[in-house]
């Protein structure tokens, strides 16, 4: 393949960074890439990355669609907390928390509640015309309060075998949370690229006025993406709370909105809206999770983990910036083309 075309591909730098991160892991732990089968479950660091990426991938998917319309959703972390809190509360009330049917109902109820919150966000943004960052800030702050009301300010512990499967279970040796995330990616791709939704989203993000005059019902579409984002955040919240078998209203989804925004940006979707890349966002989410795991495995001291993460992100963003590349690499190419 043509080298320049490869370098210009918008997913080149994210992939390069991911490869470097994985390779640097190998230096510090020789069996990093080893995947083994134990008790019918796949084990290994790579599997671990996939499993732990799941909530962020889900949240980043919703965030991608919201950002493509020129919006932003800060409330996803709170929605995660609410969904986990409601699920744990309801399961605690079940007479038999180990039977599958009732647990499924509970899961459905938690996601339904999240849909309502998504509608609320969409209503504020699309109908009342409040700036997305403010509109979703309301729920970001209030949502943690709602979650604490649900759990009465306590950390709710649950013991339910079916519920545990969502975040910590395995199906055919593969982590269930990974399967859920993969299904969500497939669903998002199908809904946006198999229909005309993707085009209409990009159009609304590109120019809301022109889109309205072209007959696009921007309001409806905008509400839809916030509902979508909240639903995915809800599922992410279930995975998280199931994995730790409890509902912690403060820890669940803490700062995940920022990680998700970062994942979207790393994936090449501009915050100003318009063109979006689902593959890019998924890649971005995996990179961020890998980064967290790498920080631990290469032995970065806990107090400097965030700094380490920041440095890698800065390098990646610089590599993706056309202006920066032109400044640095432009010099080399200029030297080559101008005859002495």
């Amino acid at each position: 393949m043509n080298l320049t075309a490869l370098l210009r591909h918008r997913l080149f730098w994210p992939i390069a960074v991911l490869v470097v991160l994985l390779a640097s892991n190998l230096v510090f732990s020789n069996n990093f890439f080893t995947i083994t089968l134990q008790d019918g479950h796949l084990y290994g660091s790579l599997i671990d990355i996939l499993r732990r990426s799941a909530p962020l991938v889900l949240v980043a998917l919703g965030m991608t669609l919201v950002i493509s319309t020129g919006g932003i959703d800060l409330s996803v972390g709170s929605v995660m907390a609410i969904s986990g809190a409601l699920a744990c509360l309801l399961i605690g009330d079940l007479s038999n928390p180990d039977s599958v049917g009732p647990v499924l109902l509970v899961v459905g109820a938690a996601i339904a509640l999240c849909l309502v919150f998504g509608l609320w966000n969409g209503f504020l943004v699309a109908v009342l015309g409040i700036q997305p960052i403010i509109a979703t800030l309301i729920l970001m702050v209030a949502g943690r309060g709602v979650a604490q009301l649900i759990t009465d300010g306590q950390i709710l512990n649950v013991h339910s075998a079916p519920y545990r499967v969502v975040g910590a279970g395995y199906f055919l040796a593969v982590p269930v949370s990974f399967l859920i995330a993969a299904a969500a990616v497939a669903l998002t791709v199908a809904v946006t690229r198999r229909t005309a939704l993707g085009l209409l989203l990009e159009s609304v993000g590109g120019s809301p006025t022109a889109s309205r005059l072209a007959g696009i019902r921007a309001r409806r579409i905008t509400i839809m993406v916030y509902v979508f984002a909240a639903a995915f955040a809800g599922v992410a919240g279930l995975i998280y709370s199931s994995d730790v078998s409890s509902a912690d209203s403060n820890a669940a989804g803490n700062l995940i909105e920022l990680n998700a925004i970062l994942a979207v940006v790393i994936g090449g979707t501009a915050l100003t809206g318009g063109r979006f890349s689902i593959a890019g966002s998924v890649l971005g989410a995996v990179i961020i999770t890998t980064l967290d795991i790498t920080a631990v495995s290469v032995g970065v001291p806990v107090e400097t983990t965030l700094l380490f993460k920041a440095v890698v992100v800065i390098i990646l963003c610089l590599a993706q910036s056309a202006t920066f590349r032109a400044k640095v690499f432009g010099r080399f190419s200029a030297k080559r083309t101008v005859p002495a």
Partner: protein, 501 residues
């Protein structure tokens, strides 16, 4: 010689935008740069102002060889530009806009009163007396344009002033005002590079002209020595018979047996007074009037882009209420806005995506147009309207103004509307494309489509319309059957006096 460009070459991926173009400017002259859309005018200007680097050739400014790496450098060297679309910050004050980036300072603090005083002075030179502390977007587009010119000429050592389509949003008296300013600058020795699609204006103001076609240089002429017809055929490279043919073709009045849309007392406070208007199938109705007379506002009411607060609207004899453009679309109405860039094209999408957008919106997101069908439709219209470059996967923002306009027309034509409302479709585009669009409108009407044609150019309205609605001060003042007795003077009279003579 203040500026000499020799053998300028500029290549974009897949296109040679400029191929060995020479261009020179004398001090104290007004020089028109002429050519069709895509001829290379904009590219040449961007090369001159440092937006683009050149791939070949030389630029000499006042005898010194220069090579700009950015617009700021060009500006510092004395080349100032006013672009086609006003390039200012609408949310800042007039004074701030004029002095942005070079505010008068003392001890690091901006001297606001000094800035306002100097802004007043520089606008006074343009015979403009406005409150410079008011926000820019509280003024009309025409005033904003003047502010942009004030900004460009206020920069101390301006040797070359580039005016790219400065008159496209000005009315006649404002154009005169601008020309007065241009003449004054010329007397002071400033060389002015003037780009305009209005030939009459070019002949009124320019001393010399340089003609480009397809990125190549055709020649440099004295305005007085090149008749208009010759200029046009040099620009488009063929004779202009086609343009004149339209005149006979359309005039034949339609039968008016099928009413498409009927407005009774339709109006919106503050934008257009209540009006009556009936449009029939196969009829071209022209809207004439000055800038700000309510032309666009009337059109927007018919399309549901704005909501009326009085009156009734009926489509096919049935009363309708449009809550959004979408409602109007389901009734077979299409509207192409005058603001191509902000209300028309979606720059970061491709030509194909822009063309199918309205049709796709009408079908809803759950029923995507199959890719094969998309390609079919897009190919057909790219060919029929001669959209250049003929690459459906190119981003629409990279196309020239005229081609963007054609993309918009294609977007609406594939929805097969029964009433096509087109607002200023020929503004800022060249003679050749203009003729093509006019011919298209005539053909569509012959095929039974109703067309509401909005244009600031009376000649164009007269040439195309069966019926002309004259607007003045946001009021529909007269309806004229277009016949031999109706001419530009007659309409001008109504516009000027506001009453039927």
């Amino acid at each position: 010689m203040v500026l000499q460009m020799t053998g300028i070459r500029k290549v974009f991926p897949g296109v040679v935008a400029l191929d060995g173009v020479d261009f020179r400017l004398l001090p104290g002259e007004i020089h028109a740069l002429m050519g069709e859309n895509g001829a290379g005018k904009s590219t040449l200007i961007k090369v001159l102002t440092g937006v683009y680097d050149i791939d070949g050739g030389e630029i000499e400014l006042a005898g010194e060889r220069v090579r700009f790496t950015g617009p700021l450098q060009a500006q510092q060297a004395g080349i100032s530009t006013v672009y086609q679309e006003v390039n200012l910050c609408p949310n800042l004050s007039v004074a701030e806009n004029i002095f942005i980036g070079r505010e008068p300072r003392r001890f690091g603090r901006i001297q606001w009163s000094e800035m306002r005083r100097r802004a007043d002075k520089s606008l006074a030179r343009l015979d403009l007396d406005i409150d410079v502390s008011a926000q820019l977007d509280s003024y009309s587009l025409a005033i904003q344009q003047m502010v942009a010119i004030a900004r460009a000429t206020d920069i101390g050592n301006t040797r070359v002033l580039i005016l790219d389509e400065p008159t496209s949003s000005l009315d006649a008296s404002e154009v005169e005002q601008l020309f007065a300013v241009m003449r004054r600058l010329k007397e002071n020795g400033t060389a002015i590079l003037f780009v305009s699609h209005f030939l009459d204006q070019v002949y009124e103001i320019a001393d010399r002209m340089t003609v480009l076609r397809n990125g190549g240089l055709i020649g440099e002429y004295r305005t007085a020595e090149l008749p208009q017809m010759q200029l046009v055929s040099k620009m488009i490279g063929k004779e202009l018979e086609a343009l004149e043919q339209i005149e006979e073709e359309v005039r034949e009045a339609p039968r008016r047996d099928r009413t498409i849309i009927e407005a009774k007392g339709l109006g919106r406070t503050g934008s257009i007074a209540p009006f009556d208007l009936t449009i029939h199938a196969g009829e071209v109705v022209g809207l004439a009037g000055l800038l700000g007379s309510g032309r666009t506002e009337l059109a927007r009411l018919l399309f549901g882009a704005d909501r009326p607060d009085s009156g009734d609207l009926a489509v096919d004899g049935q009363p309708v209420k449009f809550h959004s453009p979408r409602d109007a679309m389901t009734r077979g109405i299409a509207f192409s806005s005058e603001n191509r860039r902000t209300e028309g094209i979606i720059g970061e999408l491709t030509v194909r995506e822009n063309i199918i957008l309205a049709l796709q919106a009408a079908r809803g997101w759950t029923r995507p147009i199959p890719r094969r069908r998309q390609d079919e439709l897009v190919d057909r219209y790219v060919q029929a309207l001669q959209i250049r470059p003929a690459d459906p996967e190119r981003l629409v923002r990279d196309l020239s103004g005229g081609n963007q306009q054609k993309v918009l027309l294609a977007r609406w034509l594939i929805t097969e509307p029964r009433l096509l409302i087109i607002d200023e479709p020929t503004r800022g585009i060249d003679v050749g494309a203009k003729a093509e669009i006019q011919r298209l409108v005539a053909q569509l009407a012959d095929g039974g489509m109703a067309v509401l044609f909005v244009s600031a150019e009376l000649e164009e309205v007269l040439r195309l319309s069966h019926k002309i609605e004259v607007l003045r001060d946001r009021r529909l003042v007269e309806e004229l059957e277009n016949g031999d007795d109706v001419d530009a003077d007659r309409i001008m009279h109504t516009i000027a006096s506001g009453a039927t003579p």
